[in-house]
């Protein structure tokens, strides 16, 4: 990146005013990638609340070692089955797709995704699929956990399990269509002057994620097809009595679902690279290492699935899968150290976005270390099916993915809505979340090592004290989310105007109005040569040019006119 220049941004052209979008614009079919992105995020947030309520009921039940809230153990099974499925398939995966949809074309300076119609179609599969999943309550919800191992999912679970499988099938198709769109957009629609090595790291992360989606999700489709046939057509693929094989499901399911955990975390890692660099005003450390480690994770992710089956696997295969599972910590470690190198000696601004990004760093590392522990066969056999596993997966999925999503929301909300989120509420949200998250999930390590099994409503009374700690912290964690939701609502009505580039960032999504107009840019925007070149003279000039094109907003309280974009002279 030798030739860093401050390019012109649509110089000599009239810059459009930010559009004023109304609620109803978001409630109908449209092919605008920005609106589709928001539709994804809003739908996912709805399911986040549903999944969260289910988690609250789980924790309420577990306050005591006996059944009290639930009448039967089966009822309890339905809680964690739907909680897991909703959080994974209807919250994290769609919300990441939402950020990808909103940001990828903007970061590439494109007018839209490669296939706008397909993009809308992929989104509109999700709400009906989600309702199909929840409709399980009408016919007897699934009871086999989000992993749905047969024979629990074939011989014992109610009809809701069939709806579960159909719903997942639809969500998988939506994912594949979305991923094809991302890959084509990133491969074919980069602007002139943006090679792969000038691409924002978020786009790299979405590219790696999409490659995993198109390679792994077909296996989920295959497995679900068999499951549905076993349930409704009387076949016996998973039924040993009919010549089938129960381990068949575990193999195919994990061949999808282990890579799927990287589907859930890689986009978050992409967001982190953006947020950490912008808010510590420093070039990203190890750009190529971060980009290539995403690809390495995508690749190695396909070779580790059987570590979920150490207890049911042929013993000779344990060691090879243990080795591959340990190896995947290497590219992840490369990322973590690159991020530390990024903020090291930086001018850190402790904004809400930055706090959540730092929260990700600390919590994800804990989850990563417990992951390395679980990758080693002896430890895994000791803590298999205990709360240790529950703790690990929540550290990486909540402490990792969800913290990154929160960081992303605080960082890109101004771009999406044109208004700032309240920083004070943001910090309250962060600190309650950070502390209560830790006390919700860290004690579960101890419970697991002491032998408390997961997926039970009735447990040994010796575990009660820690379970009460976990439940109380869990309730606080649940409530903290409403601080964010309240912040979002109040920002929509009375948030401070954001302007085009409130964080002084260099990537292209900030080189247009907030929210961006239809088709995003006037003319073809020229990207700044180094998207993370903070602190250089050229970047200062570039940002000054941007400020001239898109004047920062006048403070609402001082302005006489309601026009937030200044006079636009």
């Amino acid at each position: 990146m030798a030739s860093i220049t401050a390019p012109t941004i649509g110089e000599g052209k009239v810059q459009p005013q930010a559009p004023s979008l109304r609620i109803q614009d978001y409630l109908r079919w449209t092919v605008d990638h920005k609106i589709i992105g928001v539709q994804y995020i809003a739908t996912a947030l709805f399911f986040f609340v549903i999944g969260g309520l289910l988690a609250m009921m789980i924790r309420w039940e577990l306050l005591t070692p006996t059944l009290d809230v639930m009448q039967t153990g089966e009822q309890y099974n339905t809680l964690f089955s739907l909680h897991g499925t909703v959080m994974i398939f209807l919250w994290i995966i769609p919300v990441m797709a939402g950020f990808g949809n909103f940001l990828v074309p903007l970061q590439l300076g494109a007018k839209d995704m490669a296939f706008p119609w397909l993009n809308a179609f992929a989104f509109w599969i999700i709400p009906p699929a989600g309702l199909l999943m929840l409709a399980g309550w009408l016919v007897g919800p699934p009871e086999a956990g989000w992993t749905s191992y047969p024979p629990l999912s074939t011989l014992y679970s109610a009809d809701g399990q069939t709806l579960w499988a159909l719903s997942l099938h639809l969500l998988g198709i939506s994912s594949i269509l979305g991923a094809i769109n991302f890959i084509v957009t990133i491969l074919n629609m980069r602007p002139e002057g943006m090679g792969f090595w000038q691409m924002p790291l978020f786009c790299w992360a979405i590219l790696a994620t999409s490659i995993i989606v198109v390679m792994a999700t077909p296996f989920l489709a295959g497995a679900l097809t068999l499951l549905i046939l076993d349930r409704v057509a009387g076949t016996s693929f998973f039924n040993a009595a009919g010549g089938g094989d129960v381990l068949l499901w575990q193999n195919i399911f994990w061949f999808y679902s282990h890579p799927a955990v990287y589907i859930m975390v890689l986009p978050g890692m992409g967001m982190l690279s953006e947020v950490l660099s912008v808010h510590s005003r420093k070039p990203i450390f190890g750009y190529r290492a971060i980009a290539l480690s995403s690809m390495a994770i995508a690749l190695v992710g396909f070779t580790v699935w059987a570590h979920h089956m150490f207890t049911s696997l042929t013993p000779e295969l344990r060691i090879p899968f243990m080795i591959t599972s340990l190896i995947i910590a290497v590219p992840t470690g490369i990322k973590v150290f690159s991020w530390l190198g990024t903020i090291w000696m930086g001018k850190i601004h402790f904004t809400s976005a930055m706090l959540f990004a730092l929260g990700f760093l600390s919590m994800f590392v804990i989850g990563g270390i417990s992951g390395v522990m679980l990758a080693s066969v002896p430890v895994d056999i000791h803590v298999h099916d205990t709360y240790f596993v529950v703790s690990h997966l929540h550290f990486v999925l909540y402490g990792g993915s969800v913290f990154a999503i929160f960081a992303g929301i605080y960082h890109w909300w101004p771009k999406i809505t044109g208004r700032m989120l309240d920083e004070r509420l943001g910090k309250i949200h962060f600190w309650i979340t950070y502390v209560s998250f830790f006390f919700t999930f860290f004690p579960q390590h101890i419970l697991g090592m002491q032998g408390m099994p997961r997926r039970v409503a009735v447990y040994d009374p010796q575990f009660q004290t820690l379970n009460v700690v976990v439940s109380v912290a869990g309730f606080a964690l649940g409530l903290a989310t409403f601080v964010l939701l309240a912040n979002m609502v109040s920002s929509l009505y009375s948030g401070k105007r954001a302007g085009a580039n409130p964080w002084n960032a260099l990537t292209l999504e900030w080189a247009t109005t907030s929210p961006p107009p239809a088709y995003n840019f006037v003319g073809d925007p020229a990207p700044f040569a180094d998207p993370y070149g903070y602190g250089t003279r050229e970047s200062k000039e570039y940002l000054e040019t941007l400020d001239k094109r898109f004047p920062p907003p006048v403070d609402d309280s001082l302005a006489l006119t309601p026009n937030p974009q200044g006079t636009g002279d």
């Binding site: 890959i183 074919n188 077909p218 296996f219 489709a221 295959g222 076949t235 010549g243 089938g244 381990l247």
Partner: protein, 192 residues
């Protein structure tokens, strides 16, 4: 009118769109073929976890009729390919003959496989996996065949020509997909 269209020089956006569609179709083929690969793996695992394959007392399936069907499918792929080339050379009548020929061969393939599907006696997981694989494949063949039929009808009214051939190319790409998917299944169901 036709003449004007033929002289139409594609804009930058049209070229971009065509490139996107080609990349998109390629990734779709690459991705969705993996469902068929997955089902091949399912077949292998069921096979390796049972004592004998086919299970004791069950007749193996005769490969004669399916081999005939496979040859027809390959011939249809060849016809589709030459039809698409004819379209790019604006030889519309040659296109139409070959295209309907390909669809005809496809229909014969589907009928033969439907007979096979119905004729196999029930033998627990052995017949289950056979019916699941052939059924899953035929669903794709029929869906893509219907799309080819629509493309053929549109071509008959003169909608496509050398400057506007994407639906033909796309349908052909999907039909190759059907053929490759079938070859995977053919090998695992009848040959090994």
């Amino acid at each position: 009118m036709q003449q004007n269209l033929l002289e139409h020089k594609p804009t930058r956006k049209e070229l971009q769109d065509l490139r996107n569609k080609r990349t998109g179709l390629f990734i779709f083929q690459l991705s969705w073929i993996l469902v068929f690969v997955c089902l091949v793996i399912v077949n292998w695992q069921l096979r390796s976890s049972s004592a004998s394959w086919p299970p004791a007392g069950v007749q193996p399936i005769s490969p004669v009729l399916p081999t005939v069907a496979t040859v027809m499918l390959l011939a249809s792929a060849w016809l589709v390919r030459s039809a698409a080339q004819a379209m790019k050379a604006d030889e519309i009548s040659a296109f139409i003959g070959r295209w309907w020929g390909a669809i005809g061969l496809g229909i014969v393939f589907v009928i033969l496989m439907a007979y096979e599907w119905a004729a196999i006696p029930y033998s627990q997981v052995y017949s289950d996996v056979f019916r699941m694989m052939t059924g899953f494949h035929v669903v794709h063949a029929v869906a893509i065949g219907l799309f080819m039929y629509r493309v053929g009808r549109s071509a008959q009214v003169g909608l496509y020509h050398s400057a506007n051939f994407w639906p033909v190319e796309g349908a052909a790409g999907l039909w190759y997909f059907v053929v490759v998917a079938w070859l995977l299944f053919y090998v695992v169901l009848y040959l090994v």
